[in-house]
Symmetry: C2
Subunit: 384 residues, 2 copies
């Protein structure tokens, strides 16, 4: 397998973008990534998208986006793994370039979630759970993560204040991100006094419904060196699955797919967690960020909440998490999120993060993206 | 890139399977493929599925199927390219094994289309077209292919009798396939007297709405030789795209994505059409089989209809096409079709085709699968 790097990034503003169409969002991000990279052409592309059928009445997304990006007849494949669709698109591009099948591949992600009303969006998102045993019985994602939060609180004494600190920290970061949906600073009190969605999760513990797209260009390290931008090497890639239904798991307070995906990525990279300077992780709900960090081994089980309160995961902390603002503040267009995480890693590793949110002296970052209540996960390690 | 082979196949009965669920169909095919191959474990899997969100209210398919097949935590990715989803799943498995990333990969496809009523199924299928410029304006797939048929008739003098011969031939073959949805012999008169769906396409020019699944196991040729079954080598793989909307094409009587995908597959295989003994092609409508054969170069433009009437594409003809019965008689569970084609190629190349539909002395077969009105296509060349 060949050594592979990211050489271009593109992202749209995240938000409730009524004046933008599904296809236009993807094209905007894709064009930005191509221009940023300096490549003359792409050989193939992947589009991460969770549920365009239910959100915008459109499937056959690879074909559509290649057509509107003006790159047909190249191969273009849509991949779906619920909210991990973007991470999977990135991984497939990595495999295709590593294999020698293609030299330059675009990996993008997109979701247009606000063209339907909230009830339909909630239904569409619930198709990431086990439809027959969870979704059709009325469980929604705030409900599933609320059960995980309750279990974590019960076992480890995690508090609503700890969860609120995750949200406050991610909004602090997102406030500096010009692409974020909610670039606003909030306080712990704002979170605790916000409306309850699914006890113990307040609305400010939940990531929003978002329109947006992101794209990156992947090529060989050798090829990357001939282009203008620093080559950000993909040192490790891991993907894993778990039971789709939350009730089928041995333990609701850990995420096994994330754990296994991280082990694979670290093994490929020949690294350990000590080598990593910062991370973008899948904070679809505040509790998710805590359980993910514990599953990655950044903190012992039950200890991530205290670390959040102590500021350890803030930009100035010992292990910065979600400098982009995360899903919470930046927004969560589900198919685009995994690629948006890679965009942030590349910005930080290039030293290009905007508005003073640049981390000091970072050489290696990790991105963790997951689908559903953690039934699928990807972990990628990038280094400059 | 490593040399890759198919070592196991599995397929369910195709039909209106009300007693079978979406997940059970996939598991049945997947288990059959694993058992047929003799492999002890699989490293990764791909699931081709077009629109489970609209058909059964379920996304996150890779995770779901890995879970129910009992193979978690391996990576499992759903790919979608409308009716070419199966062909794409096969291609991704090929790339992953060729790359060295994995040694044994399952490629499967599934669709459960009869749990919704006909109008919803028609809507779901129309999401393979350009939703904004075709589907939302009321065009359905019979309408799109009827326009292609009219254009072909106008330019080349193709007749309804020629189209009917395609249907009769595919039903002759499907009549011998125990997995076919409509294993019944029909006549040209039956087709011409059947109800008109979209002029000039009668209902017996159209493939049906179908439930079904298929799966294959892909590994290195080296590994395949250690297993019990003959290694069926994947000599070539090509994928390409075209404009998603029919009206955007230069020519409605040819299929450019199929043409380009075939060129790539032949280049990889270092073969020409002369090396190919038979083919499975995407006969979603009878006119599609004719235009595909012309786009592949089997017949000159406008000449495939006469060849069908002359019996050249029958099992006993000079270039047998769709010995499985094709989409027309075998059925068309859209996400599974591309894999079902590979299953038939492997059966024929192993000499295992049932009920006397085995072709004599075939060494190399081609499978062509496409999405929408031809906006995406895969071509694979297999050899024993």
């Amino acid at each position: 397998m060949r050594d592979v790097a990211v050489v271009g990034i593109g992202i749209t503003k995240f938000g409730e973008l009524w004046e933008q169409s599904f296809r236009n969002l993807f094209v905007e991000a894709g064009k930005a990534a191509i221009l940023d990279s300096g490549v003359e052409k792409i050989d193939s592309m992947y589009v991460g998208c969770m549920s365009s059928g239910l959100f915008v009445g459109q499937e056959h997304i690879g074909c559509l986006m290649a057509d509107y990006l003006g790159v047909s007849p190249i191969p273009a494949v849509r991949v779906e793994s619920a909210c991990a669709s973007g991470g999977v698109a990135f991984r497939q591009a990595f495999i295709e370039v590593a294999s020698g099948m293609s030299d330059v591949v675009l990996a993008g992600g997109v979701e247009k979630m606000t063209d339907v009303d909230g009830a339909i969006a909630t239904y569409a998102l619930a198709t990431a759970a086990d439809a027959e045993y969870e979704g059709f019985q009325g469980v929604t994602f705030p409900g599933l993560y609320a059960m995980m939060a309750r279990a974590h609180m019960d076992r480890y004494g995690t508090t609503s204040e700890m969860l609120a600190h995750v949200s406050v920290k991610n909004h602090d970061n997102g406030n500096l991100n010009p692409y974020a949906q909610f670039p606003v600073k909030i306080t712990v009190d704002t979170v605790l006094n916000s409306v309850m969605v699914a006890d113990p999760l307040h609305i400010l513990d939940c990531s929003p419904v978002t329109d947006g797209a992101a794209a990156v260009i992947v090529t060989t390290v050798e090829n990357a060196k001939k282009l203008g931008k620093p080559a950000i090497r993909i040192a490790g890639s891991g993907m894993a699955t778990d039971s789709i239904a939350l009730h089928s798991r041995d333990d609701m307070t850990t995420l096994n797919a994330t754990k296994v995906a991280a082990e694979k990525a670290f093994a490929m990279a020949n690294m350990t967690l000590k080598d990593i300077d910062f991370a973008e992780v899948h904070d679809c709900f505040t509790i998710a960020e805590l359980i993910v960090l514990e599953s990655l081994g950044v903190y012992a089980p039950g200890k991530a909440g205290e670390a959040a309160m102590a500021g350890e995961t803030a930009r100035s902390g010992s292990f910065p998490v979600n400098p982009s603002g995360g899903l919470k503040s930046k927004g969560h267009p589900v198919g685009a999120t995994g690629i948006a995480q890679i965009v942030e890693l590349v910005k930080q590793l290039r030293g290009e993060a905007e508005n003073g949110r640049q981390l000091d002296n970072v050489k290696r970052g990790l991105a963790q993206n997951m689908g559903g209540s953690g039934g699928s996960a990807t972990v990628h390690i990038l280094e400059v």
